[in-house]
């Protein structure tokens, strides 16, 4: 496996036998549900599977939550905080699991973080350099859900819109619904831009969950049977 940029110079002679599979997509796009289903199925097939995600590091996630509660937090600051959290997961969970031969299912990866930075005016070049220590995944899926479909799913799931997922910190609109639609459209555009650069595989996420799930499973099975 390769790193995007300079990698992690002090980790020498890494032997990564496992596979890294990423599922990207906005909140309520079905990411976690798909990840769970895939894990079950792969485990039934006899694979060792571990899931990971953003804001899950024991050390740093609490700090991010606190920082977000404090609206004075700067954009660069929050972006770096997320990067620290990701680095912790990468070094303490993802890499050791890959060394042990696990299939690592990542429920979101650096692409969400780059997209969020970008819509907040932080140069993409900087974010890409920042994540030069990240591993290139074997497969990257993006659940492409239209903002309109998404907003309905969010309301069904949570009955209210999240401040940051609506991009309210950007001051796009005082109306939270409008802000959400605008923000999610911008984020989706960022993913569109990253598609070719990072090799994201777009899946039509507006379809029923079973259909998307079947396609994901099929693609993963195909990849696993053709690797090594």
């Amino acid at each position: 496996m390769e790193f995007y940029g300079h990698g992690i110079p002090y980790l020498k002679d890494l032997e990564l036998k496992g596979h890294l599979i990423v599922i990207e997509g906005p909140d309520a796009s079905g990411r976690s549900t798909h990840a769970q289903a895939i894990q079950k199925r792969l485990e039934a097939d006899g694979h060792a599977v571990i899931t990971t995600g953003l804001k899950r590091s024991e050390l740093i996630s609490y700090g991010i939550m606190q920082a977000k509660a404090n609206l004075g937090i700067g954009r660069r600051t929050l972006g770096l905080f997320y990067a620290a959290d990701f680095a912790d997961q990468l070094e303490n969970k993802i890499i050791p699991s890959l060394e042990a031969g696990y299939i690592v299912l990542a429920d979101r990866y650096i692409y969400t973080l780059i997209a969020r930075n970008d819509v907040r005016g932080i140069p993409r070049r900087w974010s890409r350099d920042l994540f030069g220590f990240a591993l290139k995944p074997d497969l990257i899926f993006y659940l492409d859900v239209s903002p309109l479909e998404l907003v309905h799913r969010v309301f069904q799931k949570f009955s209210s819109l999240d401040y940051y997922e609506s991009g309210m910190d950007l001051g796009l609109s005082d109306d939270m619904y409008k802000s959400f639609m605008n923000y999610q459209t911008r984020i989706a555009k960022e993913f569109q831009k990253m598609k070719a650069t990072f090799g994201l595989e777009f899946l039509d996420g507006d379809r029923p969950i079973e259909e998307v799930d079947a396609e994901l499973q099929e693609k993963i099975d195909w990849y696993l049977s053709n690797s090594k």
Binding site: G5, H6, G7, I8, P9, Y10, L59, I60, Y62, G63, Q66, A67, N70, G72, I73, G74, R75, R76, T77, G79, L80, F81, A83, A84, A87, D88, E91, N92, V119, R120, G121, I122, P123, R125, W126, D129, L130, G132, F133, D169, L170, G171, L172
Partner: protein, 241 residues
């Protein structure tokens, strides 16, 4: 080096940083400079490395538990810096303050590189930070600095002494080697980063005279350069109003 955010400001505000190893006397010098500027009725704000309330607690928790890798160590310090930069340093400079930084990005360059992070990577992370009008580097023989520290504070902390680098099982020996490597990094930056070297192996007052001389030139000079926006204008999002 990255291009965003470099260059001096055209505002009245000026950024002055001090750098050097622990025990080089830089904080004492900055304190005296601070007092002098206040006496001259200059608006002053002082900011210290690793002091953001938002991040400090996490960094110190991680340090206590020995959980930090060089990459997370580096990124948490960058988060801390960004928080102070976005919240204090930049707005205060815009408001015309003299911002005095006790350690700046060069501390990160030196420490993170010694810890094994890629030099190019560390520099790019901090590419958003403005270059100070003056960065004083207090040059002192490692032994002198180390002895000053060990004299007053006999117990060394794990990361402080560079124990995470496996340089030696003895914290004092580890500390000496670690500080020596940091000095090497500083020395390598003197020319490339344009650090103003102060011979810190002299009396406090003598050093301070030199520091004040340099700063008084700055006080007399009118800011001339055009302000460079922190990022290309089209990327600026008009928000948070």
């Amino acid at each position: 080096m990255g291009s965003d955010g470099k260059g001096e400001t055209s505002w009245e505000g000026r950024l002055i940083a001090v750098e050097g190893v622990d025990g080089s006397g830089k904080s004492t010098q900055l304190h005296l400079l601070d007092q002098w500027l206040r006496h001259l009725n200059v608006k002053v704000f002082k900011t210290e490395w690793n002091s953001s309330e938002t991040v400090k607690e996490i960094t110190s928790r991680g340090k206590k538990k020995g959980l930090l890798t060089p990459t997370t160590f580096s990124l948490l310090h960058a988060t801390d810096f960004a928080d102070r930069y976005e919240r204090n340093i930049l707005p205060l400079l815009e408001a015309g303050y003299y911002v005095l930084a006790d350690r700046y990005i060069y501390t990160a360059f030196a420490r993170d590189i010694v810890r094994g992070c890629h030099p190019g990577w560390v520099r790019k992370i901090y590419s958003f930070a403005m270059k100070p009008a003056i960065t004083f580097y207090f040059r002192v023989p490692v032994e002198v600095a180390v002895n000053r520290i060990l004299l007053g504070r006999p117990k060394l902390k794990y990361y402080e002494s560079g124990m995470d680098l496996n340089l030696s099982n003895d914290p004092y020996e580890s500390y000496r080697i670690f500080q020596g490597r940091i000095v090497e990094q500083y020395e390598s930056m003197v020319d490339s980063e344009g650090l103003a070297v102060v011979d810190a192996d002299r009396g406090i007052e003598e050093q301070q005279r030199e520091v004040r001389e340099r700063v008084s030139l700055l006080l007399k000079s009118k800011p001339s350069q055009k302000a460079k926006p922190a990022e290309p204008a089209k990327r600026r999002v008009a928000a948070r109003e």
